[in-house]
Amino acid sequence: MTIQWLLPVALATPLVALLTALCSRLRPWLPNLLWLLPLPALVAAVLALHGIPLAFTLSGLSFALDQPGAMLLAAAALLWSLAGLAVPAVLDQPSATRLSLWWLPTLAGSLAVFGAADLLSFYLAYAIVGMSSWGLIGHADHIQARHAAGGYLIFALSGELCVLMACVLLAAPLSAQTGLSFDAVTAALPSSPWRHAAVGLLMLGLGIKIGLVPLHSWMPLAYSAAPPVAAAVIAGAASKAGIIGLIRLLPIAEGLMSTWGLMLAVLGLVTAFYGLLIGVKQRQPAAVLAYSSISQLGLTASLLGVGLMSAEPLSRAAAVFYAAHHLLVKGVLFLALALIMVSGARWRVLLGVTLLGLSLAGLPLTAGFLAKLGLKPILGDGTIGLLASLAAAGTTLLMLHFVRRLAATQPVSPTVLAPQAWLALGLLSLAALIVPWLLVPLSLGQPMRLALGLPVDQIPIWNVPWSLTRWIEFWQQLISAPGLGKALWQVLWPLLFGGLIALALWLPPLPPGDVLLLVERLGLRIVCRIGEQIQRLEHHLRAWPVAGLALLGLVLLFAVMLMG
């Protein structure tokens, strides 16, 4: 198949671009090319989703795109490309070039981590992403940036060391002929003597990456210090490396994983609520977003934990979809923050941001709603389900708080942004709304059918190629599902509950007789204006030709009416 060359090209282009940075004359052009580099990866991911197997091995490192990897790669490539489009508009020339120097390796690592097919390539990509993110975080030259970058470095390094040890322990029972592929690793893990140590170290390392509670403190500092456009890609794509690691390396094995799964679930939920509680108190919008990321990643981790506990393969698919959706939405929020910090808040942008923020919490008709619908059967209706709903309510509160803070940010000297920045934001938010809808049948097909009480067809979910006809037919079934109303309400009530709390907290102080005063001040002006319009209309009506015309018009009208 001649197309096989696509994957290596996709993964290699950022590195090749990095080489061009050596020649000083080309370097200033680099920021303008940033949006072009992730596109081959995007094409590769789309083809993979359509069922074309893409894989290659390069001296021991093998890369292949399966279903979850392709989905996350597609979303990440989209985010990297549109964020890259905004970089030259948001940052002026010297800092944009400097940023793109660190931008390219992170991009390469982030794309590669989704495509990694064996332990070694996974760890390589994971390390590249970890290390190069440090450059992005420390980009700004003020003290907080340096302080945050330092903190991040400590956490990232320790995290990677733990992952390295875990990889070594995982690779130990393997021999040369079985290779280091994930299937081999997960197959060998339950029987290996160091299984508990490996899983523990793995959870510790990846936990730092996705910011589980005791290990999360670097994330708020990093995201608020980093330039928001960089924070968008780190929070969006880079942090998903941890998620894909948990999915790939932790096997669905009875017995062994039940205790670790329970721990992961509990830790995930604690992180979720911790992120919400602290996030509501933050004043900086970037910090609010950071804590929101912590909370969402915590929720995904708990989803995986529950899956591991009940050995439910569906939870992986749901987690992938949830991560992809979070990736896109978080990207939009950070990008919007970046643009607003430069050009000032505009109500149209705020409206869009609110809409997307609430989609995280499960606003009906948005992708978040689908995600929540998919989670329902997995988390069940027990305590964990209730907690998940409360988390959704908390997310609504947090998002409204973010929007309030965002509206309050006023740049010292608002400059007009280049149109391409707004184009980038527009395209990204469009993608955040539409792409998840396309991906749903693949990942959340079974859990949604379960939630709506439809018969679950038994075809395995992983290697089902994406096709338009199956997509349409899936949705037709779903619309006519009997349980739709009940499911809708189950997703909706947390949203409303969160909105209510937000109103209670932040409603501006109203004088007594509130509505009347409002109506009076507002209503009176409107009524007077309407009165003037009516008077002018009546003045025209009383002109002789108009009255004569009306008279003859009535004659004809009545004649025709009686005749008909």
Binding site: A543, W544, P545, V546, G548, L549, L552, G553, V555, L556, A559
Partner: protein, 323 residues
């Protein structure tokens, strides 16, 4: 048969031409002149439509008096605009300059006349109900001319109201006088320049005109004619005499003038009430007496119509009577 049709079509074309000139001619004087010609040709059209009574009325009132009134008004308006050129024209409304409005109005008017034409063409077979009834009931009134019969016997209330309309129109015209001028003589008939020819006409024509008027009134019982046509002719002669300066317009507060004006209606009312008291019903005539009563009514009506029309054309009172 086709010859008379051609004559009628010719007449119609002349009528349409004059109507178009009346409606769309720019100078008002031309429009009024065209309207007077239109009135006269319309009288011919009435003869063709076998309505001779109406032809007489149309010629006398429709084009004669109305034409004279409008001509006087237009002439005065032109004199005023020449005397005070910078004064802005009197506009009853903001002139409709917006082309769209004009087009829409034209379309709607065309629509109305089109529907009307369609209706006229598709009228069903005309009922002869009324014609028969009038023919049967006419001998009871002793009249020969069915139109006078309808006017003064069957629909007498209309004629009574009509005579009253003239009186109240006169009161309306007089009400437009200045308060100081109340009781004075109307002056709008006084000619700007004394003309000998007019004096000659004023002396020669009125006797003949009065004779014709009385003949018309008398013939009205059995042939086309009647109170209104005769009265109008008498009024015309009186106006001719007034404008030729041979007679003086009576003062508004003149008691005899008032009586002359309202005598027609009052007598008509009195005879109606007599019928009401006499058990024949209001405006009903006792069996043998109807022709005589009708002639009395017609006589007084002719007289008061002549006076009223004359005063109407004379206009509103001006200088107060020197006390």
């Amino acid at each position: 048969m086709t010859l008379t049709l051609f004559a009628d079509l010719g007449l119609l074309i002349i009528l349409l031409g004059l109507a178009i000139i009346t409606a769309f001619a720019r100078p008002a004087f031309v429009a009024v002149a065209a309207y007077m010609a239109y009135g006269l040709v319309m009288a011919l059209a009435w003869v063709r439509l076998a309505a001779v009574d109406v032809a007489l009325t149309e010629a006398a009132i429709g084009s004669g008096l109305t034409g004279m009134l409008l001509l006087g008004a237009v002439a005065w308006n032109q004199r005023q605009t020449e005397a005070h050129p910078r004064r802005r024209q009197i506009r009853l409304q903001v002139p409709a300059t917006h082309p769209l409005l004009i087009i829409v109005v034209a379309a709607v008017c065309a629509g109305v006349s089109a529907v009307l034409a369609w209706v006229v063409v598709t009228l069903p077979e005309p009922p002869t109900l009324q014609v028969e009834q009038v023919r049967l009931a006419l001998p009871a009134t002793g009249l020969g001319n069915p139109v006078t019969g309808v006017l003064l016997a069957f629909r007498a209330i209309d004629t009574l109201l009509e005579s009253v309309v003239l009186v109240f129109a006169l009161v309306g015209v007089w009400s437009l006088a200045d308060d100081a001028a109340w009781g004075g003589r109307p002056r709008s008939l006084r000619l700007v320049q004394h003309s000998h020819a007019l004096t000659l006409l004023g002396q020669l024509l009125p006797p003949f005109g009065v004779l014709m008027g009385l003949y018309l009134f008398w013939a009205g019982a059995d042939a086309p004619g009647g109170a209104f046509q005769g009265g109008t002719l008498l009024a015309a002669m009186w106006v001719l005499a007034l404008s030729a300066g041979l007679a003086k317009v009576p003062a508004v507060s003149n008691r005899q003038l008032r009586l002359l004006i309202s005598i027609g209606s009052l007598l008509f009312l009195a005879i109606g009430l007599a019928g009401w008291a006499g058990g024949v019903g209001f405006l009903g005539y006792p069996a043998g007496w109807s022709k005589a009563l009708i002639l009395i009514i017609e006589a007084t009506l002719t007289l008061s119509i002549a006076v009223t029309l004359g005063m109407l054309v004379a206009g509103r009172p001006h200088r107060a009577l020197p006390r």
